[in-house]
Amino acid sequence: MNARYGMVIDLDRCTGCGSCMVACAAENNVAPLPQASPRTGITPMLVRKVSNGMEGGAQREVFIPIMCMHCEHETPCVSVCPQQAVEVDKATGIVMQMPQRCLGCRYCMTACPYHARYFNWWDPAWPAGMEKSLNPGVAVRMRGVVEKCNMCHARLHSAMAKAAAAGKREIDPADYVPACVEACPTAAIRFGNLADQNDAVSHEAHSPDAFRLLARLDTEPKVYYKSKEAWVRALAESKSGPGSEVKHG
């Protein structure tokens, strides 16, 4: 496998419903944290609301789903991790977080320009009996480690196992769809192989309306956004852009 998995998020389609946030948490066994705040919660997929700053009828808003951008080049979190707990998977391009290696120093959280990493402040806990509802494909992370979006890696494993059982080397793209993509009611989040020129997502990533957040940092994120609105595209390079409103940890 030599893929570069990525996403294109059409902001003109996002209604800010939050389905992706809940579906992501359910898929990845993220604990509900009734004691948490936006500063201390764990939301690997986080939808932010951004306004154009105008008043009255001229006011416009857009919802921007933010997750790990899976930076390809000089990946900031990889270069600062003292434990080699973060790496870019050469076969898929997915930036992997290995909680077993993480010692919780949070250098990666500081380094991430998108604030897309979250620290486990508490032991993961569910109301009595609710552990039966956990996804068996994903291990629960403990207190004291950092976590983030891994593009539903468990689903990739399942797809690979299915392909292997069928004697195939390549997975069927339909078998590997992250939970947020599956949950989006307007198909605003699209997922595919950016390295495959025949993939529709690869085409969309190169459309004139597509952009990447903080592209000037040259980290080559694999999450692209799209909008026909000029003020929305201008957010991409804003110094107080959508990723900088809430800091974690």
Partner: protein
């Protein structure tokens, strides 16, 4: 012992030598893995994984749902793309619904006032109330097999069967009053509309079946400057729907009726519609004064509305002026507007009136928790979760999510009749009972849910009309037996009726309505899926929406 330079070098070399062996890394790895598996860290249950088709029955929209089960427990849900109405979408709360059965507020014991009681005591008390006077049963999800049990029970005892309306069904009430077609027989033909004017209805935020309009909007309108489907949102604030609408008309809060009157006056005076009346008594200047718009803006809005027909206006609640606007536009009883469904003819009385003389009131678990019956009667309330501050005399634990066999009738605003069966995927604990089971304990002659569902399947089979929509579409006429048809329904297929030959109905409206409806206040307050959520509690993962992010403000009446 003196430390020499040689000792130091030996130490450095030894450490370096140890590091190149796997020993320290293996130790580090083992310690890490060990520390990931403290006994108090929950571990997911491992076992055979299977996917079952079902339906979300926590509100009357009945979205199709794929439930992933591991070791017999639901571990994840997703939408069903082949579902003809929800089309693969769920509301955000739906994605955490499989965890609801373990919510700390789950009801497991019968409560009488502030103390624990028993099912036997509750049955004796309800049977005694039935013998002493009329009873009323309130249903929040009419049309189900359970509803049939309720209706039969009250008919035998000269009681009353009442239902609780949602803002979506309230918006259809004026047409029912003016045409005689029951609300349950009406729906919106959104798929054929070209222009939709929403007066505060949260069309992109959970209105009716969440997936129906969002999918339609995503396909025909999203991101286009000149979309096939024009969505115009009239609302005081920039809601989620307004933010994504083709045009947002910002008006003063509560002035939607005035705007509807102003637009209707322009349409009639400029002969933009075939109708000749009724003419609103409000002048254009008065409408402009109330809405905060200029008269020119109202004229422009009226012209824009009819520029690309069919056009339909959608109210957020029972707003007579907006319903009258639809009559002027010709959207009542027309393609792309409000249409008559093929099947439903039942008319349900509202629970807001007519139960004050009842000796006892039984409230089904499908009724929204914040509904308080306007009566001093003894109240028997079924609920799977305790939403707090209950005023009911008896609080009776009901089956939770997927713990009860039920059928799924047509969604309230759908333009076409559907039917599905949601089998019980989980075994309910012995301490819970549904209202239908409770009534059967008092009156054993009542039909069981299985028999009613079987009878309904037999009716569908005999009708030979419509299609069974599962992995593939199969006309009902092609089924060899009712058993085959029922088998497919139990596996998650949805029966979809044939499009009716005539969807028209006629509204008798001679004068512009001036009566202000009691529910009109709804039009100025946003109602979305979290308000429409009928379970008394939210899934625990709703904390991601309401608390761990700044995405939404927490609904104060809920207990996430």
């Amino acid at each position: 012992m003196k430390l020499t330079r040689r000792d130091l070098l030996w130490g450095v070399a030894g450490t370096a030598g140890l590091l190149v062996t796997p020993v320290p890394w293996k130790l580090l790895d083992d310690v890490s893995i060990w520390s990931q598996n403290w006994p108090w860290i929950p571990q997911p249950a491992h076992g055979p994984v299977e996917v079952k088709q079902s339906f979300c029955t926590l509100c009357p929209n009945g979205c199709g749902m794929r439930v992933r089960m591991a070791s017999g427990w639901p571990v994840g849900v997703a939408g069903v793309a082949s579902h003809p109405i929800s089309r693969g979408a769920l509301c955000p709360l739906g994605f955490g619904v499989h965890q609801l059965n373990w919510h700390p507020r789950r009801l497991r014991t019968v409560r009488h006032g502030a103390s624990s009681s028993s099912w036997e005591a509750a049955q004796v008390a309800f049977a005694k109330a039935c013998s002493e006077g009329p009873i009323a049963i309130i249903d929040g999800y009419p049309g189900r097999a359970a509803s049939s049990v309720f209706e039969t029970f009250v008919q035998k005892r000269n009681g009353s069967y009442r239902t609780v309306s949602s803002p979506e069904t309230l918006a259809l009430a004026p047409y029912a009053n003016w045409s005689g077609v029951p609300v349950a027989g009406l729906g919106y033909d959104l798929e054929n509309a070209q222009t939709i004017v929403s007066f505060g209805a949260p069309l992109l935020d959970g209105w009716a079946t969440p997936g129906r309009f969002t999918r339609l909007w995503a396909e025909r309108a999203a991101g286009s400057k000149d979309p096939q489907l024009r969505l115009i949102q009239v609302e005081a604030s920039l809601s989620r729907t307004a933010a994504r609408a083709w045009q947002w008309v910002s008006v003063h809060a509560g002035s939607e009726a005035a705007l509807a009157a102003g637009v209707a006056r322009v349409l009639l005076e400029e002969h933009l519609v075939p109708a000749r009346g009724p003419m609103p008594p409000m002048t254009l200047a008065e409408a402009a004064g109330q809405t905060g718009l200029s008269t020119g803006a109202i004229v422009d809005l009226a012209r824009t509305m009819v520029a690309r027909p069919p056009v339909v206006a959608i109210a957020n609640g029972d707003n007579l002026a907006i319903a009258a606007l639809n009559v002027v536009l010709g959207a009542a009883g027309a393609r792309g507007g409000i249409v008559r469904k093929s099947k439903h003819t039942e008319s349900y009385a509202s629970a807001d009136t007519g139960i004050d003389s009842a000796r006892a009131v039984l409230i089904d678990a499908s009724v929204p928790w914040d509904f308080v019956p306007p009566t001093n009667a003894e109240v028997f309330r079924f609920a799977a979760w305790d939403g707090g501050s209950s005023t009911a005399d008896w609080l009776l634990p009901a089956p939770g999510f997927l713990e009860e066999l039920t059928d799924v009738p047509t969604a309230p605003t759908s333009a076409i009749a559907t039917y599905a069966v949601a089998p019980s995927l989980l075994k309910a604990s012995p301490e819970v009972q549904s209202a239908a089971q409770f009534l059967s304990g008092i009156d054993p002659a009542l039909m069981t849910m299985e028999k009613i569902i079987h009878a309904r399947c037999a009716d569908l089979f005999r009708g030979r009309a419509g299609t069974l929509q599962g992995q593939e579409a199969t006309p009902v006429a092609k089924f060899a037996s009712v058993q085959k048809l029922e088998e497919q329904l139990w596996k998650g297929a949805v029966w979809v009726d044939e499009p009716p030959r005539s969807t028209a109905f006629r509204c008798q409206l001679k004068e512009w309505p001036t009566t202000v409806s009691s529910a009109q206040a709804l039009s100025s307050s946003s109602v979305n899926w979290s308000n429409a959520w009928r379970a008394p509690v939210l899934p625990p993962l709703a904390s991601k929406l309401y608390q761990e992010s700044s995405l939404r403000e927490a609904p104060d009446r809920r207990n996430a």
